[in-house]
């Protein structure tokens, strides 16, 4: 089988990988040490493998690695600045949004994508965004609270931002 060389930016750093045409982005990322990308089903149903591709959540088990060529990938490993946690990560810890933690990387990334687009989401918008990520532990109350708290924290941190929007939910989610 012919091999491909692809180039992508992962968490800001350029990467060059040799992959087979059928390799899934999920498997390649894990192989390359991005262990935060989780496999929960491998069939695009659970969202545990979500990463951001050019800022949009995708289920990396539904994407061939080859499709990531030339694109920008963000995984949970890139969220904290060294030891300093991002406000989304802080909020998930402070609000009890993490239990087993298997869904947590995906939840955090999907939240980041949501807040980039909709800095002050409504609870419904948060639920819509998180609905692509399955969680069997939390019942979602605390993750939703964490996202809302992170949004408030981030909004407070940048007072120059335009006023909070309350537009109807946009299609988001790692589907």
């Amino acid at each position: 089988m012919g091999e491909l060389v692809i180039r992508a930016t992962v968490n800001g750093a350029p990467r060059r990988w040799t992959v087979a045409p059928g390799d899934l982005l999920l498997d390649v990322l894990r192989r390359e040490g991005y262990w935060g990308v989780k496999n929960g089903c491998e069939t695009g149903e659970c969202g545990a493998c979500a990463v951001l591709l050019d800022g949009e959540p995708v289920n990396s088990c539904l994407v061939f690695a080859a499709q990531a060529d030339g694109r920008r990938i963000e995984t949970v490993e890139g969220v904290a600045a060294g030891d300093r946690l991002d406000p989304v990560q802080e909020a998930f810890l402070d609000h009890g949004g993490v239990q087993c933690g298997y869904c947590t990387p995906a939840m955090i990334l999907v939240t980041r994508a949501l807040l980039a687009r909709t800095p002050r989401p409504t609870e419904d918008e948060v639920r819509e965004a998180l609905s692509g990520v399955f969680c069997r532990c939390t019942g979602f109350k605390k993750p939703v609270e964490a996202v809302l708290a992170a949004a408030a924290r981030l909004a407070d941190a940048r007072p120059a931002a335009p006023p909070a929007g309350r537009k109807p939910a946009r299609k988001a989610a790692a589907r």
Binding site: L85, L93, G132, C137, F140
Partner: protein, 776 residues
């Protein structure tokens, strides 16, 4: 002895009772390597299992020559290659009360998905190609799929092997049975003014933990077998694998890394034996995991049951007699069969203090996926039936369902004698209720749901969308009385930190945090000073594992004892520095204080002990209880029934739970809320469906629905704290109890909205429509 100092009052506690962050949270939010699969091993092979396509068949012959010849294949195992040791996969304390009816590999298969053979190869593709090359000569036997006919004469016998032990009556496919009573129910029925008898049916639910079962095994430099596995029961796994592979326990090390959820599905040795066998056969590291599809039917499920309940009451609402008859299916193997079903009786019936109780139960084998432990452990089935029936009786009597429950519920000071009759596979111990916050749970929960305002009254009103509210009261246990036990070990470091080593298994519940909080509070240090390490059979003390809502009370009890000993040791050394008697010293804020206010830091004490006195401060302790204090729960549901679509939509779920003292209220709420999510699935959506040949029809997340962020209703969680004398700092448990009341509360709310009773789970739109139609 400073241990004589009185316990700190709750208000003065620095760590226990606080909503602190998870001690292991950093690695989880940053995606650091934590889980079983987050490891790169040179030479790692991929294991795959050849699953039976037949529900019931004998393997006349099996030819693996072509598979073995395939380049890249390092091991192919069938029953011919491995020891035949009857065992149970149930993760229970030895001697296990489950039948020994399972084999590493066998010449007979008993469900679609049963193990036929296993392969280890360089890649998954090669392993799967090798599976296709295995040739099996089948003798297909009749499947046994209907639990109501499993014991009929002439039915195929599922366990006809001669070497199984502990099966009640293999020739009748009867895995186990339970018959017990207190008082005389027939006499009780004669005294009753109203008797209702109803039948309830509950489905096969799948755990669907987000991380499927996974194991990696290798041989270390000393040729010992290392098993890195996502398990709730590392010490049981070590014992079981040693027995099955006939190698000494001393040759095995089981490491439990981070677990991605378990819910009882990992209270079971599911893949470890086979993965270990592949490693021994190939000499190479092997990874064996279930795909999501396999997880649905090759792992474990909740036991489906048919329950027939008969209850007699006086006109004033006093319950006189209750007879519960249960028929349950354990599937192909009997793991947890009598213990789960025993709990259906022992943890459900005694909630109401009727003088006459009777429990009769048969657990049958079927050629279906294997049932096992699942959060609630028999109680969700029993409570769905009991709480539905109680609701119906209250309605018949014209009594408020809350008042009816309060009138009959067990209370502080009561002794539950049924538990004495129904231990884990043997006689148990009576259960004394030393703390009970159930009345407060009902009162606060009713206020939160708006009980008075939202009650519709069980009549069908005009309109498309009908709303109603319902309630259920439940209890559970906190560990298995007289069986569960745990060890803990603590040692002091020179900077005033302490290593806490426990065999307890955090499966995502937050028990590492709770145990660290208990240690920190006892030692008078801040939480960051406790370095907890859990579950590695080489490096931590024994623990039966994480199940039966035991960790906080049992493992926490061990931690508290060990910490008290270490605190006393630290005080002895501090006494030398402070020139005061050790018994007068107090530990708090990372320091040791003398009565005058003079103090030294824990670090100074530790340095003194280590370098001056040449002593490592270190202590271990074990703990068990002879009673299992129940947490109590009142679950309230508000639902909306759509009469056009038949959909029952949960609107608001309230969980008011008496968990003793909450060591970490934030985590405790999280346990309750997660239990509600699983309970709603059980009530309304989740069922592993089998076709007429025993094949799974919906083994994926598209066709097997679990509740997502968008599906979940508003949740209110109310922690009702009581002081439990048997628990560390007054704690009981929280992990399981919250699931028990969800389905009955939803069903009772659906009745309140429509006037229709739903006695079969899950309550699906087609059943609702049929029932509504029948009334038009």
């Amino acid at each position: 002895m400073s241990g004589a100092s009185p316990p700190s009052p709750p208000s003065r506690r620095a760590v226990v009772g606080r909503r602190v962050r998870k001690v292991d949270g950093f690695k989880l939010v940053t995606g650091r390597t934590a889980f079983t699969d987050d490891i790169a091993l040179p030479g790692l092979l991929v294991g795959r299992i050849l699953a039976s396509p037949h529900a019931h068949a004998r393997i006349r012959d099996i030819d693996t020559r072509r598979a073995k010849a395939l380049p890249g294949v390092h091991a192919v195992l069938t029953w011919k290659d491995v020891p035949r040791v009857p065992h149970t996969t149930a993760g229970q304390a030895w001697p296990e009360p489950s039948p020994y009816d399972t084999y590493l590999l066998d010449s007979k298969v008993r469900f679609v998905g049963d193990r036929v053979a296993a392969v280890a190869a360089e890649t998954r593709a090669v392993a799967e190609e090798a599976l296709r090359l295995i040739e099996v000569d089948w003798e297909v036997l009749p499947p046994v799929l209907d639990m109501e006919h499993a014991m009929d004469p002439g039915t195929a016998v599922i366990h006809d092997e001669p070497d199984a032990t502990g099966i009640r009556d293999a020739a009748r496919n009867l895995a186990g049975d339970i018959h017990t009573h207190i008082g005389d129910v027939e006499a009780g029925f004669r005294e009753s003014d109203l008797i209702l008898e109803r039948e309830y049916r509950t489905p096969r639910q799948q755990h669907a933990m987000l991380e499927p079962h996974i194991v990696i095994c290798w041989l270390d430099a000393d040729n010992r077998l290392v098993i890195r596995t996502s398990t709730q029961i590392p010490f049981h796994v070590r014992r079981q694998v040693a027995m099955i592979l006939r190698i000494p326990v001393s040759r095995i090390r089981v490491i439990k890394p981070r677990i991605g959820g378990g819910f009882g599905g990992k209270q079971e040795m599911v893949l470890e034996d086979l993965c270990a066998a592949l490693t021994l056969a190939s000499g190479r590291p092997v990874k064996l995991e279930y795909s999501r599809h396999e997880e649905f039917f090759m792992a474990r499920t909740r036991h489906p049951q048919i329950l027939r309940l008969r209850m007699g009451v006086k006109r004033d609402g006093t319950i006189v007699a209750h007879h519960m008859r249960v028929l349950a299916a354990t599937g192909a193997y009997g793991s947890h069969c009598t213990t789960v079903q025993g709990n259906t009786g022992s943890k459900v019936l005694p909630l109401y203090r009727a003088p006459h109780l009777r429990f009769d139960c048969d657990v049958v084998y079927l050629t279906t996926p294997q049932a096992g432990a699942f959060r609630g452990y028999g109680c969700p089935q029993g409570y769905f039936a009991q709480e539905s029936l109680v609701d119906e009786i209250a309605h018949e009597l014209g009594m408020d369902p809350i008042a009816f429950r309060l009138k009959n519920a067990i209370r502080q000071g009561d002794v539950d004698e049924l538990s004495a009759q129904l231990g884990e596979g043997k006689k148990g111990l009576p259960r004394t209720i030393r703390s009970c916050g159930l009345p407060e749970c009902l009162e606060k929960g009713a206020a939160a749901i708006g009980w008075k305002e939202q009650r519709n009254g069980g009549v069908r009103r005009p309109g498309r969308l009908l709303r109603g509210v319902g309630v259920a009261t439940t209890m559970q246990g906190s560990g298995i009385a007289g069986v569960d036990f745990a060890g803990a070990f603590l040692k002091a470091n020179e900077d005033g930190s302490f290593n806490l080593q426990v065999g307890a298994t955090d499966l995502g519940t937050g028990s590492d945090t709770v145990l660290a909080q208990i240690a920190a509070e006892t030692l008078g240090v801040s939480l960051d000073k406790i370095l907890i390490y859990s579950s590695d059979t080489d490096f931590t003390p024994f623990d039966v594992g994480a199940y039966a809502s035991s960790t906080t009370i049992i493992s926490g009890g061990a931690v508290k004892k060990a910490a008290e000993k270490v605190r006393d040791d630290m005080c002895c050394f501090a006494a030398q520095l402070l020139d005061a008697p050790p018994e007068d010293l107090v530990c708090r804020d990372n320091r040791v204080f003398a009565p005058g206010g003079k103090s030294v830091s824990m670090a100074e004490v530790a340095v003194h002990a280590l370098y001056k006195e040449k002593t490592q401060v270190m202590e271990g302790a074990s703990h068990f209880n002879t009673d299992s204090p129940p947490p109590f729960c009142a679950t309230f549901a508000e639902v909306e029934v759509d009469t056009e679509t038949g959909r029952v939509r949960p609107v608001h779920l309230v969980t008011a739970v008496d968990l003793g003292v909450a060591i970490n209220p934030m985590q405790a709420e999280g346990q309750a809320e997660g239990a509600v999510a699983q309970g709603l699935g059980y009530a309304l959506a989740e069922e592993l469906v089998l076709d007429g040949r025993g094949r799974p029809a919906n083994a994926n997340f598209c066709d097997y629905k679990i509740f997502t962020a968008k599906d979940m209703p508003k949740l209110t969680t109310i922690l009702v704290e009581t002081e439990e004398p048997l628990g560390p700092f007054g704690a009981k448990s929280i992990a399981e109890v919250g699931i028990n009341g969800v389905a009955p509360a939803v069903a009772n709310a659906a009745f309140d909205a429509t006037g229709l009773r739903f006695r079969r789970l899950p309550i699906r739109p087609d059943a609702v429509l049929a029932a509504l139609g029948g009334r038009r």
